[in-house]
C-alpha cells in the first residue's frame, strides 16, 4: 500500500523512522528538512507500529545519514525499518583468502586488504555514490588509519562496507586468520 505511485508529493522512500511520541516525530521531520533530507510524515502500517501513530517516511538508502542527523540534533527515535521485506540488515560476512591478501564480503560490498601490512588494496561492489568516494579515501591506507565507512558514508552501501571493514580489522588484528 505504501509503495503505490501517485502519492500526494510523489515521494517514495521505502523506509520508516519510528518514534515514541508525536512530538518527537514532528521534531524529526523538522530536523531532517533543515538538513535537506527528503521525508514526510505518515501513519505506520499496523505490522510495523511501535511507539506513536506517526512516523517519518525516508529514502531507506539514506538510513546511516538520517541516523547521524537525528542523533546530532538530539531527536530520539526507536528504529529505522524498511516498509516491506526483511527488517534486518544482512549480517552475513564471507571471507576469501588470496594468500597474501584477504577479501571480506558483506552484502554487496567487498574490501580486500594486505594480510601483513593491513593496507586496503581494493574496494569493489556497491552502487551508491558514496562508495567511489570512500574508495578514494580508504585506498592504500592501513585499516587502522583508514576512515571508518560508517562515519563518512551516507547510504546502505556504506553500511555494508562498514561491516566488511570491521570484520577485516578483526581478521588483520588476529594475524590474517
Amino acid at each position: 500500500m505504501f509503495f503505490k505511485s501517485g502519492k500526494k508529493n510523489g515521494f517514495e522512500g521505502g523506509g520508516l523512522v519510528l518514534f515514541d511520541s508525536v512530538e518527537e516525530a514532528m521534531s524529526g521531520e523538522r530536523a531532517l528538512k533543515a538538513d535537506g533530507v527528503e521525508n514526510r510524515l505518515v501513519a505506520p502500517p499496523p505490522e510495523l507500529r511501535r511507539g506513536c501513530d506517526l512516523a517519518l517516511e525516508i529514502n531507506l538508502v539514506e538510513k546511516p545519514a538520517v541516523e547521524r542527523m537525528l542523533r546530532s540534533r538530539q531527536v530520539p527515535f526507536i528504529d529505522i525499518l524498511p516498509m516491506k521485506g526483511d527488517a534486518e540488515l544482512l549480517q552475513v560476512v564471507q571471507v576469501t583468502d588470496f594468500g597474501e591478501a584477504v577479501m571480506v564480503k558483506a552484502g554487496n560490498m567487498k574490501l580486500t586488504f594486505d594480510k601483513s601490512s593491513g593496507v586496503v588494496l581494493n574496494i569493489s561492489g556497491g552502487g551508491c555514490p558514496d562508495i567511489p568516494y570512500l574508495h578514494a579515501e580508504m585506498l592504500a591506507k592501513p585499516l587502522d588509519r583508514a576512515p571508518r565507512p560508517k562515519e563518512m558514508g551516507h547510504t546502505l552501501c556504506s553500511l555494508m562496507l562498514d561491516r566488511a571493514y570491521v570484520q577485516s580489522l578483526e581478521i588483520w588484528k588476529n594475524g590474517g586468520r
Binding site: 509503495f3 505511485s5 510523489g10 515521494f11 517514495e12 522512500g13 521505502g14 535537506g36 529514502n59 531507506l60 538508502v61 539514506e62 545519514a65 524498511p82 516491506k84 521485506g85 526483511d86 534486518e88 540488515l89 544482512l90 549480517q91 552475513v92 576469501t96 588470496f98 597474501e100 591478501a101 577479501m103 564480503k105 552484502g107 554487496n108 567487498k110 580486500t112 594486505d114 588494496l121 581494493n122 574496494i123 569493489s124 561492489g125 556497491g126 552502487g127 551508491c128 555514490p129 558514496d130 562508495i131 567511489p132 568516494y133 574508495h135 578514494a136 585506498l139 558514508g153 551516507h154 547510504t155 546502505l156 552501501c157 556504506s158 553500511l159 555494508m160
Partner: protein, 301 residues
C-alpha cells in the same frame, strides 16, 4: 550518441557533460580531471577503449560530483528528466547515483518521450532504483553481480542490504534459480548479464551463455571490474552489436583483460582497462563470430 550518466567522487564537480577521453589513469571531460577508479569513471574508461577500437565516436559522459549526500545525484536526475528527449541518445547507461524511486521512474518516462526510446542499460544503484520502483521491465539490460541478482530475485527488497539471507547465501550454482525468480517478479531487464565466478547472459528468463574461463579469481577483488563490463556492453551495443552478442563479448574480454594485466588483488582498474585494445585485437573477431548472428537480435543501430 552513447550517453553514460553517473557520479564522481569529487565534491566540487558540477554537472558536466562532454566527450570523455582517457589519459593513463585519468579521465578528462570538459577540462575536468577524474581519477579512473572504481565506479562510473571505470565504466566510462572501458567504453572509451571499446569505442576507440570499433572506430566509433567517444562516449558522452554526464557526470556530477556526489559524496553520497545525493545532492549531485538529484541534479543528474533532474537534468535527464528535462533533457533526455532533446539529447536523443541511442544508448543510455545509468550508473552510480543515489537510488530515488520516484525520480528514476520520471527518467524512464522522459526516455519514452524521445522520438525513439534509447537502449537503456542500468547498473549499480541506477539498477537498484529501477527495480525498487517496479520499472525493471522498461530497461533493456541490467548487469548485476551475484549479490545484486539475489536482490533482483527478492520481491520485497528495495536495496541489496536488505536481501533475504537465504537468497544472499546462494552460490553460483543457484544462478539459474535466481534468474528465474528475478524474471518471475518482473524485477529483471529484458537482458541480464550476471557477473561472477561464472558469468551468465540471460534474456527473458532463459540463460543463453555461461563463461568461466579464463578463471582470474583476483578480478572479484578489484574495484571496477563489474563497471568495465557495463561500459563495454554499452559501447558494443552503440557500435551495432546485438545486445546478447555485446554481452557475450564483453564478459570474455573482461576475463581476458584480467589475464593480460596479470591481475592480483592489488591491481588497479585502470591497469585492466589499459590492456583492452590488445585483448580486442587478439580475440574480438573470433568472439563476435562465435557469439552468433548479431543481425538476429535487436540492435540500437
Amino acid at each position: 550518441m552513447l550517453l553514460i550518466c553517473g557520479t564522481a567522487p569529487r565534491k566540487d564537480l558540477p554537472l558536466t557533460q562532454g566527450e570523455a577521453s582517457l589519459h593513463g589513469d585519468t579521465l578528462r571531460i570538459n577540462g575536468a580531471a577524474i581519477p579512473c577508479t572504481q565506479g562510473t569513471a571505470a565504466l566510462i574508461s572501458a567504453a572509451i577503449k571499446t569505442a576507440e577500437y570499433l572506430g566509433q565516436p567517444p562516449p558522452q559522459a554526464l557526470l556530477v560530483g556526489d559524496d553520497g549526500t545525493g545532492k549531485g545525484s538529484r541534479l543528474l536526475y533532474e537534468h535527464l528528466i528535462g533533457n533526455l528527449p532533446r539529447l536523443a541518445p541511442r544508448v543510455v547507461v545509468l550508473h552510480y547515483m543515489l537510488p530515488v524511486m520516484g525520480l528514476m521512474r520520471k527518467v524512464s518516462e522522459s526516455a519514452s518521450k524521445a522520438a525513439r526510446r534509447p537502449f537503456m542499460i542500468a547498473d549499480a544503484a541506477a539498477m537498484y532504483a529501477a527495480k525498487a520502483a517496479g520499472i525493471a521491465r522498461d530497461f533493456d539490460l541490467f548487469t548485476p553481480d551475484l549479490s545484486e541478482l539475489a536482490f533482483l530475485a527478492d520481491p520485497q527488497a528495495t536495496h541489496p542490504a536488505y536481501v533475504s539471507r537465504h537468497l544472499f547465501e546462494s552460490d553460483s550454482t543457484r544462478i539459474p534459480e535466481l534468474v528465474a525468480a528475478a524474471y518471475a517478479n518482473r524485477s529483471a531487464a529484458r537482458t541480464l548479464v550476471v557477473k561472477g565466478a561464472t558469468d551468465h547472459v540471460a534474456q527473458n528468463g532463459r540463460i543463453l551463455d555461461t563463461v568461466s574461463e579464463p578463471n582470474v579469481p583476483a578480478l572479484e577483488a578489484i574495484g571496477g571490474t563489474g563497471d568495465t563490463i557495463s561500459g563495454m556492453v554499452g559501447a558494443f551495443v552503440h557500435g551495432g552489436f546485438g545486445e546478447v552478442t555485446a554481452a557475450r563479448v564483453a564478459i570474455r574480454a573482461n576475463r581476458m583483460a584480467g589475464l593480460y594485466a596479470g591481475a592480483t588483488p592489488a591491481t588497479r582498474i585502470w591497469q585492466v582497462i589499459e590492456v583492452l585494445p590488445r585483448v580486442f585485437a587478439d580475440h574480438l573477431d573470433d568472439w563476435a563470430r562465435q557469439a552468433g548472428d548479431a543481425s538476429m537480435e535487436r540492435s540500437a543501430s
